[in-house]
């Protein structure tokens, strides 16, 4: 099962540190060079800031990913920890954007050698030693990684909790 990052709207204050950290983590240049080179600002996390809710939204690394199914060029692959976009094969047809139920896929120009718009999404900062950059910078502790072990452990601990509740009254 792929790990994924989930946000807690009750904690998020919409400060967008995660959005900038995400861009920073997917760019070789540092901030100053990025500014001088006027690189595209293409986060893989989308901040919703409305009256009803304020929260970041990003990919849930689905096991049965609609984006993988929708891609005519086979550019979206589910492999290892994440669902990944092989940007060289993407021609920007946006079917994945229409397919994603969460709106986690974005098509735009990203820093790097490919100068045309391509699909890009959260890749859990694979290869970054401190893990997802957004989780690390969030001042409100509103982002959280659900790792493979969590996904096994949480249901078990909840079952144990509900079992004890059931035992409690009958």
């Amino acid at each position: 099962m792929h790990p994924f990052v989930l946000s807690d709207p009750s904690r998020c204050i919409g400060c967008r540190a995660c959005e900038i950290a995400c861009v920073d983590a997917h760019m070789d240049e540092d901030m100053v060079e990025a500014g001088n080179k006027e690189l595209p600002f293409s986060p893989r996390i989308s901040i919703v800031h409305e009256a009803e809710v304020t929260a970041p939204v990003q990919c849930r690394q689905c096991e049965e990913a609609p984006c993988v199914a929708a891609c005519p060029a086979g550019a979206v692959v589910s492999e290892g920890d994440t669902v990944r976009v092989e940007t060289e094969r993407c021609c920007g047809c946006k079917a994945c954007m229409a397919a994603c139920p969460v709106g986690a896929m974005q098509v735009a120009v990203i820093p790097g050698k490919i100068k045309t718009p391509v699909a890009h999404k959260c890749d859990l900062c694979t290869g970054r030693e401190k893990g997802p950059a957004c989780v690390e910078v969030c001042p409100a502790g509103a982002l959280r990684v659900f790792g493979r072990e969590d996904l096994q452990r949480i249901p078990v601990s909840k079952r144990r909790q509900s079992a004890s509740q059931l035992a409690g009254y009958n």
């Binding site: 967008r16 959005e19 900038i20 690189l39 409305e50 009803e52 304020t54 045309t116 001042p139 409100a140």
Partner: protein, 539 residues
């Protein structure tokens, strides 16, 4: 803060303007504290609030007075102890009569029983801390609004104890410090009035110079003085009035008119472009010194990188100017400046650079063994007795009418700072918020045929600005919100310079505007020339 406590915030979008304090408030809420939010917009904290009073902008004083009235009538006031430690209590209570919940409900468009619920929360809470910022002060009734808050705090005994107090959240990193340092026309350091002979005397003796006894001109007065040719020279230091002051057309006219204008800043701002001499200052990371935070905590800043190009730390520039104006003092480093200052300022005498190495110290700190003062007015009010001030309600200077049917209020977003001179030159911050987003209620947007993301034009009696519409329920019907961060969408062209009679603070939070959709010129057909795009894609 936890169970039994209450946080009351008015006129502050804390999670946007003071994010870390905002987070603290949310944590307090999670620890069981009650949260009262008084703001016309549905800001994030409003969502978390136990009581959210969605008032009509400009009706802060009557609302706070009504709350005070309800607390008083419900008998939740320890009358003896309050009367004993304050002045003007009786007249104040009589003055509350006209602010009954029902009439204020109609005036401020807040339900009467919401006012009562807020009153009960504050009345019953052991401790209530009040927080406010520009939302309260930037009105023609700014002073009254602050006094209304202090009346309420005095009435409920919420002063001089932990988890209480009237806490203005200062907008900028050293706005508290610059006031402390006497950068005001009427006071010297430590808020000691220039008209006070002994105070003036101590400075005159230290600097062996005579200082005028009457107070100087405020910014609006200086601008008018320039217009009337009473003032010929102006030095703008680290400010961009061409964007942050209200009624920009008026400011522009004055800055053009002044004979000699000096501007010292990091970038060539709109104001600097009009200057006769521009001096390159240094950023916080290129110089040593101290800032004073909103809780009066003096903290060190340290140079991390050398000044960019030929720029110099600002204190060196000012020191050199003083020298050229015949002043004898020579400052080897910034510590000497601080020491000279603290000897002249009783509240800062105990603060030294050595002590600051271990961390910030909150003034007043009379001597070097003193630990600083986390909380003011402990025991009793610093001025002796707490002073109640009976208040009247005054409508804002400019209300919506047929020609300008909507109310505009201005403010900030978390990603940007003030005129964004710095934040728009940060790749990340500019990236998250690249352009002005004008918040418009869906119903108003529909009425003017505006869809989310359309370019719209806002027009007031003073000028016109454009911006991209953000159709959201964060604003109520009839109110639009925009920031003053973006030079392409200068909100302050629209705002009125009508100001508070006492402080001269302009009413940036309320002015009347009309909006209309601008038809965007459709992006032209991107048919590249033949040669160009035959090759360009085959990378």
């Amino acid at each position: 803060m936890g169970a039994g406590d209450c946080v009351c915030i008015i006129g502050t979008n804390t999670t946007a303007c003071h994010p870390v304090i905002g987070l603290g408030m949310m944590q307090a809420k999670r620890n069981g504290a009650q949260l009262i939010v008084i703001d016309p917009r549905e800001i994030d904290l409003a969502r978390e609030a136990d009581v959210w009073l969605r008032l009509r902008p400009g009706t802060d004083t009557p609302l706070l007075s009504a709350i005070a009235g309800e607390i008083y009538n419900a008998g939740m006031v320890d009358v003896e102890s309050v009367a004993a430690s304050t002045e003007g209590f009786k007249e104040f209570c009589e003055g509350l009569a006209k602010f009954d919940a029902e009439s204020v409900a109609a005036l401020s468009e807040v339900a009467a029983d919401d006012i009562r619920r807020a009153a009960r929360c504050i009345g019953r809470a052991r401790n209530t801390a009040f927080y406010y910022t520009m939302g309260v002060t930037q009105h023609t009734t700014g002073t009254n609004n602050v006094l209304a808050v202090s009346n309420l705090a005095l009435l409920t005994g919420n002063i001089g104890r932990p988890k209480t107090g009237v806490n203005p959240l200062r907008g900028q990193n050293n706005v508290q410090g610059s006031c402390d340092m006497g950068a005001l026309p009427n006071v010297l350091t430590g808020y000691r009035s220039v008209t006070n002979d002994d105070v003036r005397g101590s400075f005159e003796e230290a600097w062996n110079v005579t200082i005028p006894a009457e107070k100087g001109r405020t910014i609006p007065e200086m601008l008018n003085a320039i217009e009337e040719d009473k003032m010929k020279g102006l030095f703008v230091f680290g400010e961009n009035p061409m964007r942050s002051d209200p009624d920009i057309n008026h400011v522009e006219h004055c800055l053009h008119h002044v004979e000699f204008l000096v501007v010292q800043d990091l970038f060539l701002t709109e104001t600097a472009e009009l200057a006769d001499v521009v001096l390159p200052g240094a950023s916080f990371a290129e110089k040593d010194g101290t800032f004073t935070s909103t809780e009066r905590r003096v903290q060190r800043i340290r140079a991390a990188v050398s000044p960019v190009g030929d720029s110099k730390p600002d204190w060196k520039i000012l020191a050199e100017l003083l020298e050229r104006l015949g002043r004898p003092e020579r400052y080897a480093d910034v510590k000497d400046v601080f020491d000279e200052m603290r000897m002249l300022t009783p509240t800062h005498t105990g603060i030294t650079y050595e002590r600051l190495e271990a961390g910030g110290i909150q003034w007043p700190c009379p001597d070097e063994s003193h630990a600083g003062t986390p909380i003011l007015h402990v025991g009793n009010c610093m001025r002796g007795a707490g002073k109640f001030v009976p208040l009247e309600h005054r409508e804002p200077a400019e209300l919506p009418d047929a020609e300008y049917p909507l109310t505009l209020t201005t403010g900030r977003v978390v990603a940007h700072y003030h005129t964004a001179t710095m934040t728009r030159r940060c790749f990340g911050l500019a990236g998250t918020w690249p352009e002005e987003l004008v918040e418009v209620h869906p119903a108003d947007a529909a009425e003017y045929g505006i869809a989310d993301g359309d370019l719209i034009e806002l027009r007031s009696r003073r000028g016109v600005a454009t911006g991209r519409a953000w159709v959201t329920r964060r604003v109520p019907r009839g109110l639009v919100f925009m920031t003053f961060h973006f030079s392409e969408s200068p909100a302050n062209i629209l705002t009125t310079s009508a100001a508070d009679p006492v402080t001269g603070t302009p009413q940036l939070k309320v002015c009347a505007v009309a909006i209309r959709k601008l038809t965007e010129e459709s992006t032209s057909v991107e048919s590249l020339s033949i040669e160009e795009h035959a090759s360009c894609h085959i990378a």
